[in-house]
Symmetry: C2
């Protein structure tokens, strides 16, 4: 006896987000629409309205997933790194680069100017958690004139900029290994508190 489609999906919200990530993965930002999303999740195109009030809400939901993936990507690289502040920073950057290369569409959604819901608590929480990873790896760096904030911004700008540029010129830096090496080369000397 084959399973009948249940009228209630069970966890449609999660399924829709997953479908959205797939769409982004397969065809980038241009490939994302509420109707395709619903279709990919095997549901009528009016169904998502029960879970996302509008497109911006959906985008915010996907960005939330993005930040969570960001956090995980950085943390799992950090876990493998030797216990040395510079190595930890390099590892976090590798996680960042891996994420961006594997999720170009999502990265563009997150940082390409797409409107988001600034009051989305989950989104704000997820993005803060990602930032916290960055903050922690910067703690050991000796503070200069700009304090710890300048250190964090420096590291973040560097790695974010590199990630963007790597995607932008795929011909030159097509594989992860090469971009990891570049990252190692451009990270300036840092002074750490002992």
């Amino acid at each position: 006896m084959t399973k009948k489609k249940p009228h209630h999906h069970g966890n449609l919200r999660a399924a829709l987000l997953e479908a959205g990530l797939e769409l982004l993965h397969d065809g980038g930002l241009e490939n994302l629409s509420m109707r395709k999303l619903a279709s990919k999740a095997g549901v009528s195109h009016a169904a998502p309205a029960h879970h996302f009030a509008n497109q911006t809400a959906l985008h915010s939901g996907l960005m939330t997933e993005g930040y969570k993936m960001f956090t995980v990507a950085m943390q799992s690289e950090i876990k493998l790194a030797p216990n040395d502040p510079r190595e930890i920073i390099l590892a976090a950057g590798r996680g960042y680069l891996t994420f961006t290369q594997e999720n170009e569409g999502l990265f563009n959604l997150m940082f390409g100017g797409t409107p988001r819901d600034h009051d989305d608590a989950e989104l704000n929480k997820a993005s803060e958690e990602a930032y916290n990873v960055l903050r922690e790896i910067c703690v050991p760096i000796v503070k200069g004139e700009g304090g710890s904030e300048a250190n964090e911004l420096m590291i973040w700008s560097l790695i974010h900029g590199l990630a963007r540029l790597v995607l932008h010129s795929k011909r030159d830096t097509i594989n992860a290994e090469k971009s990891f090496e570049t990252w190692r080369l451009i990270l300036p000397p840092l002074e750490f508190a002992t």
Copy 2:
């Protein structure tokens, strides 16, 4: 006697690009369409087809304008800077930041993953010229393990990343002055050849 509209516009291509920049300026990436463009330029919506084969061609044309503006923005700040390699790098960064803050929509078009025509000679030329400005200001930096390319990538990643992050968190860094100061703070110490 009032001037009749001439049937031939004279320089519609330029007018369309200008209209496109205005649309981007006023409403960002989402505000850009061929029909709005034509309407803004005071021309029927089928007219642009004579100047841009398709949307990608139009986007590429706008990106070309963007790179030119980039180059000008950096060069004009460099011109005002004291003749000191670090000051020149700081000045170029200020130009970059000014451009991005005044042209957020265009910046998103250029670096947000929008497809471009990779065979557009004008576009490639304009982007190379912008890169050349960067290359020149990096010449005085002492080469490390990664050679001059690593120096260029380091400076570019830093300033591009900062520009992106400034736009991303407008609340914190709403004005140019503040972002200039941040830029000065995060530019690491550099060693210059004498």
